[in-house]
Amino acid sequence: MIDRRSFLRLSALGGGAVFMSGLYGKALGATGDQAGMNASTEDFYFVQMSDSHWGYSGDANPEAANTLKKAVAAVNALEVPPDFIVFTGDLTHTTDDPKERRKRMSEFRDIVGELKVKPLHFMPGEHDASLDNGTAFKEFFGQTHYTFDHKGVHFIVLDNVSDPGARIGDAQLDWLKTDLSMQPADARIVVFTHRPLFDLAPKWDWATRDGDKAMALLLPHANVTVFYGHIHQEHHHQTEHIKHHAAKSLIFPLPAPGSQDKRTPLVWDAAAPYKGLGFREVETELKTAEYEISEFPVIKS
């Protein structure tokens, strides 16, 4: 029987793109202790979906009412199911009307409820949470920042959007500091967040105002990788030893960071619908703290 990794490589040849991320052995070298990894841990993979903006209506995606549903069907059709699915924010498109906001969240929840794999982990984007400080999001999806552990990896969900000024805030930073203090130096840590924690394109507001404080807390840890959304495109960046990977959107792609005056959506291509949209698989390799990223389109071309 074909194993998971071989399958991934084969399927990537057929439309996905594989990107290797991680420390390539540095992590174990840093601790000098291969036995430091729990022998009972096993590699696994999860799916990242992002920026579905449910409720959006406009020329940038005439198929907005169908895109998320198609992505759900695509994930359900994966040959090997993931261990879990994470949504890195902007589940819904913003609205000033609190009733409409809740309607969109309810509809989004119903659609992603069709995903066969559980659990689903959610976090807000600024479109979900900035106008009411996360009130509606919490009603539907629970806390906006939290941690969970899975097969030897410590996952941290950071909220940098409930404050409309894109601050994580001192209270959450204190919480992060306390959480990290309980992790061993060589812990495998993955951070999920919506906005980039570094200044990617400040003129487009692609930053977190106090992201430098979060990075200062994370940098002493040898094995940290960040997955985020917000910028509607695949992007890879490194801050010292910490890698940051932005995911594609499920509504419309945006231009490369700072590449033009305005961050206006790319024009919908009727000849290639859903172009630039997609989700990703992230496969862990715990021994080396590597993450193998495979990008998948919403529909097979």
Binding site: H93, T94, T95, D96, E126, S130, L131, V161, P164, G165, A166, R167, D199, P202, K203, W204, D205, A207, T208, R209, D210, G211, D212, K213, D261, K262, R263
Partner: protein, 125 residues
């Protein structure tokens, strides 16, 4: 990051060629110098004006009035930002050293058109 916030209150944003004070609700700026005052209105999702022309070396005060939200005002190239509280006048003093075009934007998420709420400062030699 929040360096700009610290600079906002210390008035020390001189490193990239601009001076900044932001005082909310005060009738005048503390220095009492004569400077050109430019009134700027901020409302969803536009600054009026959104194109501000200055001369290199000129001291000006931007006087912001926010009508409907605590919009932000940020000039990333100069590491300057301010919160624009509705019902208050927020003053930002500038003295640009270099000619060029500099973007500004609202950096407090304010709704559907937030991504469009931006403008340019044009500094002429």
């Amino acid at each position: 990051m929040d360096k700009s916030r610290r600079r906002l209150f210390s008035g020390a944003a001189t490193g990239l060629g601009a001076l900044l004070w932001a005082t909310a609700g005060a009738a005048t700026r503390p220095t009492g110098k004569k400077e050109r005052v430019i009134k700027v209105q901020a409302k969803k999702f536009v600054y009026t004006p959104n194109r501000i022309v200055l001369k290199q070396g000129e001291s000006v005060v931007l006087e912001f009035t926010a009508l409907d939200f605590m919009h932000g005002f940020k000039i990333p190239d100069w590491n300057i930002r301010a919160d624009l509280m509705p019902g208050q006048v927020t003053r930002v003093s500038l003295k640009p050293d270099n000619a060029g075009e500099f973007d500004f934007l609202c950096d407090n998420f304010c709704g559907t058109g937030h991504e469009e709420m931006s403008g340019k400062i044009i500094v002429t030699a």
